[in-house]
C-alpha cells in the first residue's frame, strides 16, 4: 500500500529543505511554492482520508512500521485511527491557510523564505506526531517540533518575542524532559525488545506497580498539561500569543497545543488507565479551574491576542474535563472539541491578525465602530467569535455540549461550575466585538481599514464553512471518533473494574 502517512510527513519536511535550498533568484516565488506544497499535501490527505475505513475507525489504519532504532526499541511507526485522522486533518487544513494569511507579512523575500520553511517544517512534525504509533517517535517529534516553533516565535513577531520564545521553549522543555524519564522507563517496564515503544505492544500489556504507573502517568501528564495550557502552567501562552505572529500563534494554539490533549487521550489514558483514574479527581478540579480562570482572565485583557489565548485556556479546560470524565460522550466531545477549537481559534487568531496587519495594534481600545466601515470583516469576525462562545449551529457547540452533558453523570459539580463559562464566554467575545466593531465610527477612518480582501476571505471563509458544516452535521466527524473513544473509555473502565 502507498505509504500515505510517511509521505505526508516527508513532503512538508522536504518542502522546507527545498525552500532553504532555493537560489536567491527564485525567492520571489517562494510563497507560491510553499502554498503549492501544502496544497499537494492537502490533496494527498484527502485521497487518504477517502480510503479510511470509517467502520473500523478505532483501529489504526494506513499503518506503516519500519525499524528505526531497534537498539532502543524505537520504530518509525505511523498510523491513524479516527482521532488521529481528524488531528492530521487539522494540521493539513490550517497550514495552507496560515501561509495564505501571511502572504504579505514579510517584505524581504529571504525572511519570507525562512518563515515559510519553518511553517512547513512544523507541519511535518505535527502530522508526524498525530500519526505516531510509537511512543519514542511521538516523543522525538514532540520535542523536536519545539525548534521550528521556537524560531518562528523568536524571529518573527513583536517586541517581546525573544522573551516569549525562550519562555515557550523552557516551559515545553521542562515538561518534555520530565516526560522523557517516563519514556525511558517505559522501555524497562514494557515488553522491551526491538519494538518496545510501539503503542500496540504497550497498550493494555503493561504490568506496573501502582507507584510506577502513577509516576509515569504524572511524567507524561505534566508535559501534556503544559502543552495544552492548563492552569497553573499556562502563562507561556499569552506571552507567546501577544508577541508571536498571528499566523504562528494560530498554528500553535489551533494545532500544536492539541498535542497536549491528544497525548492525554491517546497515551495517558491508554497506557496508564489506573493512574489516570486515580488522578482524575484532581485533574478535573484543575480543568474546571482552567475553564473559569481562563475565561475571567480573557475578560480582563486589552490585547486581543492575549484575550484569545486565554479563551483557549478556558476551552482546553473543557477538553480536559471531557477526557478525564472517562465517559463515552465526554471523550468523544473532547476529541471533537480538539478539532473544532482548532478551526474556531485558528480563525479567530488569523482574523485578529488581519486587524493588526491593518493598524498595527491588537489593543481593543484602539478600535471602534468598524462594523460600518468593514461590514464583511465584522460579520466574519462575529461568526467566528460566536463559534468561540460555542453558539449552536457552529461546530464548537456540539463538542462543548457533548463534554458538559457527557461528563455530568460522573462530575456534576464540575459541569455546573464549567457551565458558568458559557456566560463568561459571551462576555469576553461580545465585549470585544462591541469595543472593536460597534459604537460610532471613528472620526477619520484610518486609510488602512479596508474590508476583508479576497485573500483574507479565502483564509477565513473555509474555516467558517467547516464550522457551519460540522455545526449542523457533526456526525460527519463524530463517526470517526466514536470507536476510538469507546476503546479508550473501555481501557479506563476495565481497569477500574479490575481495581
Amino acid at each position: 500500500m502507498f505509504p500515505f502517512l510517511t509521505v505526508l510527513v516527508a513532503l512538508p519536511a522536504l518542502g522546507a529543505a527545498l525552500l532553504w535550498a532555493l537560489p536567491a533568484s527564485a525567492l520571489t516565488r517562494v510563497r507560491e511554492i510553499a502554498l503549492g506544497i501544502t496544497v499537494v499535501e492537502a490533496v494527498l490527505f484527502v485521497i487518504m482520508a477517502l480510503q479510511f475505513d470509517k467502520g473500523d475507525a478505532g483501529a489504526f489504519q494506513f499503518s506503516e512500521t519500519y525499524a528505526w532504532i531497534p537498539q532502543i526499541g524505537a520504530s518509525w511507526a505511523l498510523g491513524v485511527n479516527g482521532i488521529g485522522l481528524l488531528m492530521v486533518a487539522l494540521a493539513v487544513i490550517l497550514v495552507p491557510l496560515t501561509i495564505l494569511a501571511a502572504w504579505r507579512e514579510d517584505k524581504v523575500p529571504a525572511r519570507r523564505r525562512h518563515y515559510l520553511a519553518l511553517v512547513l517544517l512544523s507541519q511535518a512534525f505535527m502530522v508526524g506526531i498525530f500519526a505516531a504509533r510509537d511512543v519514542f517517535l511521538f516523543y522525538v517529534l514532540f520535542e523536536a517540533m519545539l525548534i521550528p516553533l521556537y524560531f518562528l516565535i523568536g524571529s518573527f513577531g513583536g517586541a517581546q518575542r525573544r522573551y516569549a520564545a525562550v519562555k515557550f521553549l523552557l516551559y515545553s522543555l521542562v515538561g518534555g524532559l520530565v516526560m522523557l524519564v517516563g519514556v525511558v522507563a517505559l522501555y524497562f517496564v514494557g515488553p522491551g525488545g526491538e519494538q518496545a515503544f510501539l503503542t500496540d505492544n504497550l497498550t493494555g500489556t503493561l504490568d506496573l506497580t501502582t507507584a510506577q504507573e502513577r509516576l509515569m502517568f504524572l511524567a507524561f501528564f505534566l508535559a501534556f498539561a503544559i502543552k495544552a495550557p492548563m492552569v497553573p502552567v499556562h502563562t507561556w501562552l499569552p506571552d507567546v500569543a501577544e508577541n508571536a505572529r498571528p499566523g504562528t500563534t494560530a498554528l500553535l494554539v489551533a494545532v500544536l497545543d492539541k498535542i497536549g490533549t491528544f497525548g492525554m487521550l491517546t497515551l495517558c489514558l491508554t497506557l496508564f488507565p489506573e493512574a489516570a483514574d486515580w488522578a482524575s479527581p484532581v485533574i478535573i478540579v484543575l480543568a474546571v479551574i482552567s475553564v473559569i480562570y481562563g475565561a475571567l482572565l480573557a475578560i480582563g485583557q486589552k490585547d486581543m491576542m492575549r484575550l484569545v489565548s486565554f479563551t483557549s485556556v478556558s476551552h482546553f479546560g473543557i477538553m480536559v474535563l471531557g477526557i478525564f470524565a472517562f465517559q463515552q460522550t465526554s471523550v468523544e466531545g473532547a476529541a471533537l472539541y480538539m478539532f473544532n477549537h482548532g478551526l474556531s481559534t485558528g480563525a479567530l487568531f488569523l482574523l485578529v491578525g488581519f486587524l493588526i496587519a491593518r493598524t498595527g495594534t491588537a489593543d481593543v481600545d484602539a478600535y471602534g465602530g468598524l462594523q460600518r466601515i468593514v461590514p464583511v470583516f465584522a460579520g466574519t469576525f462575529l461568526v467566528v467569535g460566536l463559534s468561540a462562545l460555542s453558539l449552536p449551529g457552529l461546530s464548537p457547540f456540539v463538542s462543548e455540549i457533548m463534554v458538559l452533558v457527557g461528563a455530568y453523570p460522573v462530575a456534576a459539580w464540575a459541569v455546573i461550575v464549567s457551565a458558568v463559562s458559557v456566560v463568561l464566554a459571551a462576555l469576553y467575545i461580545l465585549l470585544t466585538y462591541k469595543k472593536v466593531f460597534t459604537g460610532p465610527a471613528p472620526e477619520a477612518a484610518p486609510a488602512t481599514t479596508r474590508d476583508l480582501t479576497l485573500r483574507e476571505r479565502l483564509v477565513a471563509w473555509p474555516l467558517v464553512g467547516l464550522m457551519l458544516l460540522l455545526g449542523f452535521a457533526p456526525a460527519i466527524a463524530i463517526d470517526y471518533l466514536r470507536e476510538p473513544s469507546a476503546d479508550i473509555v473501555a481501557h479506563v473502565t476495565l481497569e477500574e473494574a479490575d481495581a
Binding site: A419, T438, I478, R482
Partner: protein, 626 residues
C-alpha cells in the same frame, strides 16, 4: 405537509443565508424575499395544520427524523422535528405574526440602508424560533434556543453604532446565557437519569425518576425559562432590548421569543409533573414577575418600555399558569397566542406612532394622536381592549381563565396566586389605559418639529390584521373549548376543578378591577393635563421607573465584584502564577552568581577543593563502609 415541516425552517434559513452572503447585491429585492420566506413557512405550517385536523386527535403528533445529529456512543441525538398540536400552534403564531411583521418592516425600515441585513436577521430569527418549537429533543431545542438568542442579539444591536444599543444587545445575550446554564444543567441531569435528551424518551421514563432529580431538572429548566422569558430575577434585559427597531420588539420581544420559556415549561410537563415543588416555584416566579412588570409599566413614560414591562407582566401570567400544572398549561398557551396577536399589534402601533413622531418614544410628548392616525388608533385600541380582558375581546378568554385557574387548589396557593392574578388584572388595566390615553387622547404635547401622519398601507395592513385577531381570535378559539381540546394530546386532559371562589365572583371581581383601573387612568391621563416632563414623584414611582433598581443591583452584586475579581486575577496571574516561575528562574541565576565565586582563579584553592572533596568522600565511604 406535516412531514415536510422542515421546509418551514429551511425556507427562512435559506433566505437568511442568501441575504447575508449576497450582501448589497440583494438590496433591491432582499426584503421581499424575506417576506416570501416567512410567508412560505406559514403556508407549510398551515398545510400541516390542515393535515393534522384531518386525523384523529391521538394520531396528530408526527416525529420526523431528518438525520442523525450526534451519533455518539452513549448519547444519540437526531435532528428530529416533532409536529404536534403544541408545536404547530407555535409554528402558526410565529409564521403568521412573523410574516405580518416582515411586511410591516418593508415600510418601516425603508430608509435604512441595511434593510436587507435586517430581513436576513428576521429570517434567521424565524428559522431559529421554528427550530426551537419543532425540535423533538432538548438538545435540538437548545440549538433553536441559542439561535433566537443570537438573532435577538443581532436585532437589538441592529443600530449598534449607538454604544448604548450595543450594550443593550450584549446585555440581552449575556443574561439569556445565564439562563442557558440552566438548560445545560437540565440536559446533564436528563442525560444522567434517562440516558437520552429527546422528549419522547424522557416523557416515557420521567415517572421512574426520583422527585429530587425531577425537581432539580425542573428548577434548572425554570432558570432557562427565566432568562429567555425575562422572568424574575433575569428580567433586566427586556427593557433595554427595546433598543432594537420596533418590529423586532413586536416579533421577538413580545410575540414569540420571550414566550419560549413558557413553551419550555409546558413542553417539560412530564418533568414538572413529578416535581410539584418546582411547579410551585414556577408559579411564584410568574406571580412575582407579573406584579413587578405591572408596577414598572405604570411608571414608564417610554412607550416601548411600558409595552416591554407589560410583556413581562403578561408572560408572568403565562408562567403562573404553566406553574399551575396541567390545569394551566392550555391556558398559558392560549394566553400566549392571544398575547402574541394583541401585543404584536400594539408594538406595531407604537412603531407607527414613532414613525409619525420622528422616532420619539416619550409618551409625555404624545397625546391627541387619534385624530392624526385613525387606523393606528383603532387597531391599537382593539389591542388595548384585548389586553384589558374586556369581553368579548381575545384577552378576556385567555386571561380570565388563568385567573380562574389560579384560584384552583388547596391551602395558601390559590389565594396567593389567585389574588395576585386578580390584582394584576387591575394594574394592567391601569397602566395600559394610561399608555393608551397618554398617546392617543388628551391634548397634543408634541414637540415643534413633528407633523404626525398615518403610516403607509404596508404598515397599517398588518396592524389591521393583528387587530382583527386581537378582537376575535379569543372568541373563536375559546368557543367550545376548541383550543384546549386541540392541545389536549400534549397537555393532557384535566378534569374540571372548582376554584376556591365561585367562577362568577372571580369574573365579576376581575371586570370590576379592570374597569376601575381603566377609569382611574382616564381621569389621570385622559382628561387631566399630562405634564411634558415627568414630575418628581414618590419613592415608589421612582423605584418603578428605575425597574426596581435591577440594574443597580446587578451592578453592585455581579458586575462590580466581577470586574474586581477579573482585575485581581489578571494581576495575580502576572505577579503570582507567572511571577513564581520568573522568580524561580532568577533564583537559578543568583545561585549561579553565588556559586561561581567558588571558582576563585587561585589554583591553590582549586587543589584545596579537590582535596576537601576527596577527604569527604573517603570519610563517608570508609567510615560508612565500616
Amino acid at each position: 405537509m406535516q412531514s415536510l415541516i422542515w421546509l418551514a425552517i429551511a425556507l427562512p434559513l435559506a433566505s437568511a443565508a442568501v441575504l447575508l452572503c449576497l450582501g448589497r447585491r440583494a438590496d433591491a429585492w432582499g426584503h421581499w424575499m424575506g417576506v416570501a420566506a416567512s410567508g412560505g413557512a406559514f403556508l407549510v405550517g398551515l398545510g400541516a395544520l390542515i393535515e393534522m385536523l384531518g386525523k384523529p386527535a391521538e394520531e396528530r403528533a408526527l416525529d420526523t427524523t431528518l438525520y442523525t445529529f450526534i451519533p455518539g456512543g452513549d448519547l444519540h441525538v437526531d435532528v428530529g422535528l416533532l409536529a404536534d398540536p403544541l408545536s404547530i400552534t407555535f409554528v402558526l403564531l410565529i409564521t403568521f405574526v412573523g410574516t405580518l411583521i416582515h411586511v410591516y418592516s418593508v415600510a418601516y425600515m425603508e430608509h435604512d440602508k441595511d434593510r436587507r441585513r435586517f430581513f436576513a436577521y428576521l429570517n434567521l430569527f424565524v428559522a431559529a424560533m421554528l427550530l426551537l418549537v419543532l425540535a423533538d429533543s432538548y438538545l435540538l431545542l437548545f440549538v433553536g434556543w441559542e439561535g433566537v438568542g443570537v438573532a435577538s442579539y443581532l436585532l437589538i444591536g441592529f443600530w449598534n453604532y449607538k454604544p448604548e444599543y450595543a450594550t443593550a444587545a450584549n446585555k440581552a445575550f449575556v443574561v439569556n446565557r445565564i439562563g442557558d446554564i440552566g438548560l445545560i444543567i437540565a440536559m446533564g441531569i436528563m442525560f444522567t437519569t434517562f440516558g437520552a435528551l429527546d422528549f419522547a424518551t424522557i416523557g416515557e421514563l420521567a415517572g421512574n425518576a426520583s422527585t429530587a432529580t425531577l425537581t432539580a431538572a425542573g428548577l434548572a429548566l425554570l432558570l432557562a425559562a427565566c432568562g429567555k422569558s425575562a422572568q424574575f430575577p433575569l428580567q433586566s434585559w427586556l427593557g433595554d432590548a427595546m433598543a432594537g427597531p420596533t418590529p423586532v420588539s413586536a416579533l421577538i420581544h413580545a410575540a414569540t421569543m420571550v414566550t419560549a420559556g413558557v413553551y419550555l415549561i409546558v413542553r417539560s410537563a412530564p418533568i414538572f409533573e413529578g416535581a410539584p415543588n418546582a411547579q410551585v416555584v414556577v408559579a411564584i416566579v410568574g406571580a412575582i414577575t407579573l406584579t413587578l412588570g405591572a408596577l414598572i409599566g405604570m411608571a414608564k413614560d417610554d412607550i416601548k418600555k411600558a409595552l416591554a414591562a407589560s410583556t413581562m407582566s403578561q408572560i408572568g401570567y403565562m408562567m403562573l399558569a404553566a406553574g399551575l400544572g396541567p390545569v394551566g398549561y392550555a391556558f398559558a398557551i392560549f394566553h400566549l397566542i392571544t398575547h402574541g396577536f394583541f401585543k404584536a399589534g400594539m408594538f406595531l402601533g407604537a412603531g407607527s406612532v414613532m414613525h409619525a413622531m420622528n422616532d420619539q418614544v416619550d409618551m409625555r410628548r404624545f397625546g391627541a394622536l387619534k385624530g392624526a392616525m385613525v387606523v393606528t388608533w383603532v387597531t391599537f385600541g382593539l389591542g388595548w381592549l384585548a389586553i384589558l380582558g374586556v369581553p368579548p375581546f381575545s384577552g378576556y378568554w385567555s386571561k380570565d381563565k388563568i385567573i380562574e385557574s389560579a384560584f384552583v387548589g388547596e391551602g395558601w396557593q390559590p389565594w396567593v396566586f389567585g389574588l395576585t392574578a386578580l390584582i394584576g388584572a387591575g394594574l394592567t388595566a391601569f397602566y395600559m389605559s394610561r399608555l393608551f390615553f397618554m398617546t392617543f387622547h388628551g391634548k397634543a404635547r408634541w414637540t415643534d418639529e413633528v407633523h404626525p401622519h398615518e403610516s403607509p398601507a404596508l404598515m397599517t395592513v398588518p396592524m389591521i390584521i393583528l387587530a382583527v385577531g386581537s378582537a376575535f381570535l379569543g372568541l373563536i378559539l375559546a368557543t367550545g373549548d376548541r383550543f384546549t381540546t386541540w392541545l389536549e394530546p400534549v397537555t393532557g386532559h384535566v378534569e374540571h376543578h372548582e376554584p376556591v371562589l365561585p367562577v362568577a365572583v372571580i369574573v365579576a371581581l376581575t371586570l370590576i378591577l379592570v374597569a376601575l383601573g381603566a377609569v382611574g387612568a382616564w381621569f389621570k391621563y385622559g382628561r387631566a393635563e399630562v405634564p411634558q416632563e415627568a414630575p418628581s414623584a414618590s419613592l415608589a414611582t421612582i423605584t418603578a421607573r428605575n425597574d426596581f433598581f435591577q440594574d443597580s443591583v446587578n451592578r453592585a452584586v455581579f458586575q462590580r465584584p466581577g470586574q474586581h475579581v477579573t482585575r485581581t486575577l489578571v494581576y495575580a496571574d502576572a505577579a503570582i502564577v507567572d511571577g513564581a516561575v520568573n522568580k524561580q528562574a532568577r533564583g537559578w541565576s543568583s545561585l549561579g552568581s553565588a556559586s561561581r565565586k567558588l571558582q576563585t582563579g587561585q589554583v591553590r584553592s582549586y587543589a584545596a577543593t579537590m582535596l576537601v572533596g576527596l577527604v569527604i568522600v573517603i570519610a563517608v565511604i570508609v567510615v560508612g563502609g565500616l
